[in-house]
């Protein structure tokens, strides 16, 4: 493996009630985050291929951790998102190299499908920085019930020469969706949008 991983943190959140209403089945959201060494920390490097390859490795690994943590088959996942936080000696472009060129394909392999764009966010920050990972339906970006977000944080990461890479997966949308829009039973799933 090209990525030098210091730790992997996986969190599953299970919401059972919201505003006194029972959420049945519970909404489950999982995120798995790898804390890796940034090979380009502290210097300007033009060619970011190494980080692009690391993104490809981590996509499959983290998606698998996340679905395992929920305890479902990948094909039962409904929404997803990704994010990265670069330590202070790195560049925002390093996060982009990990997230955008190659991370998505192995994530979609784990989940069976995934016609929709994987929503993403990125930032630079110090240890304990919070990442708000945007979430959207994996097969149709316009499914309104699945527009969501998940906050994650690791108290000791990213250190200056590290990058946090996160992949989030859910088995459902928001707990009590009722603002209309495209619903998941109306998905055509051809164009990734509807």
């Amino acid at each position: 493996m090209k990525a030098k991983i210091r730790k992997i943190v996986t969190t599953v959140e299970e919401t059972r009630t919201e505003m006194g209403q029972v959420v049945d089945p519970p909404v489950r959201r999982a995120v798995s985050i790898a804390v890796i060494e940034n090979p380009f920390a502290g210097r300007y490097v033009e060619d970011l291929q190494e980080l692009i390859d690391i993104g490809e490795e981590l996509g499959g690994l983290l998606a698998q951790y996340a679905v395992n943590a929920i305890g479902i088959e990948g094909s039962r996942a409904e929404s997803y998102g990704k994010a990265a936080a670069v330590g202070e000696n790195g560049e925002l472009e390093h996060a982009a190299a990990i997230l955008h060129p190659k991370l998505g394909t192995p994530v979609r392999k784990v989940l069976g499908k995934g016609a929709a764009l994987i929503p993403s966010s990125k930032k630079r920050g110090g240890p304990g920085v919070t990442l708000d990972i945007p979430l959207g339906h994996k097969d149709a970006a316009y499914v309104r019930s699945h527009f969501d977000g998940m906050e994650v944080r690791i108290s000791d990461a990213p250190r200056a020469n590290e990058i946090m890479v996160a992949v989030a997966v859910t088995d459902s949308g928001r707990p009590l969706p009722r603002v209309g829009g495209l619903t998941k039973d109306q998905i055509k799933g051809d164009d990734g949008l509807r």
């Binding site: 943190v9 599953v12 299970e14 919401t15 059972r16 943590a69």
Partner: protein
């Protein structure tokens, strides 16, 4: 006996491979399970609260079992700790209700662990972070196992809620090397050494 109203549960597992030193063969695992529940005493002073400890026992047991399972089973567990964040309409004393049901649940499912369960608590709003202390399950003085795990819930506890946390670890700090009592030297009689 009032039913415990759980709004959400969060399980976090950390797998630590190294921290700048030599990578270990078996990664250290640290896990936390947090349950956000309704605080039945929020918003007023209630004198008699101790009965709620019994009500929390089944929840404590279920949480301890689920957390140990997520870390590879009770046999793998070497360190533990617990903590509470009480929402703003509650009292620090409400957080103390977790000592007995949280602590004894872990000791029971870990096969009668001997050491007192390290703990901490505070009153706070949604997003409050809590550093839960961790010590060896059979001997509090084992220096390699002094550790801590930060927990928190973005949208909890609300004012009328409490976040109850259990933490377990599968071994010493990743590059432990500051001496003291070793896990291999534990007598395991008094919970201290």
């Amino acid at each position: 006996m009032p039913e415990i109203a759980i709004r959400k549960r969060i399980i976090t597992i950390e797998e630590i491979f190294h921290e700048g030193g030599p990578p270990v063969k078996t990664p250290l695992r640290r896990g936390a399970l947090v349950a956000v529940i309704h605080n039945p005493f929020a918003g007023r002073y209630v004198e008699e609260i101790a009965g709620f400890m019994d009500d929390l026992k089944p929840l404590g047991l279920a949480m301890a079992q689920d957390l140990a399972a997520a870390l590879g089973g009770a046999k793998a567990i070497e360190g533990y700790g617990k903590g509470t964040i009480v929402g703003a309409a509650g009292e620090l004393e409400h957080g103390a209700l977790w000592h007995v049901p949280g602590g004894y649940a872990m000791r029971e499912i870990l096969g009668g662990a001997k050491a007192i369960v390290a703990s901490t608590k505070k009153v706070g709003g949604p997003g409050t972070r809590l550093d839960v202390p961790v010590t060896h399950i059979n001997a509090s003085y084992v220096r390699s196992h002094f550790d801590a795990m930060e927990i928190g819930v973005t949208d909890g506890p609300k004012a009328d809620e409490m976040a109850l946390a259990l933490v377990m670890t599968t071994g010493p700090r990743i590059h432990a090397r500051v001496g003291g009592l070793k896990a291999s030297e534990v007598k395991g009689e008094d919970g201290l050494r």
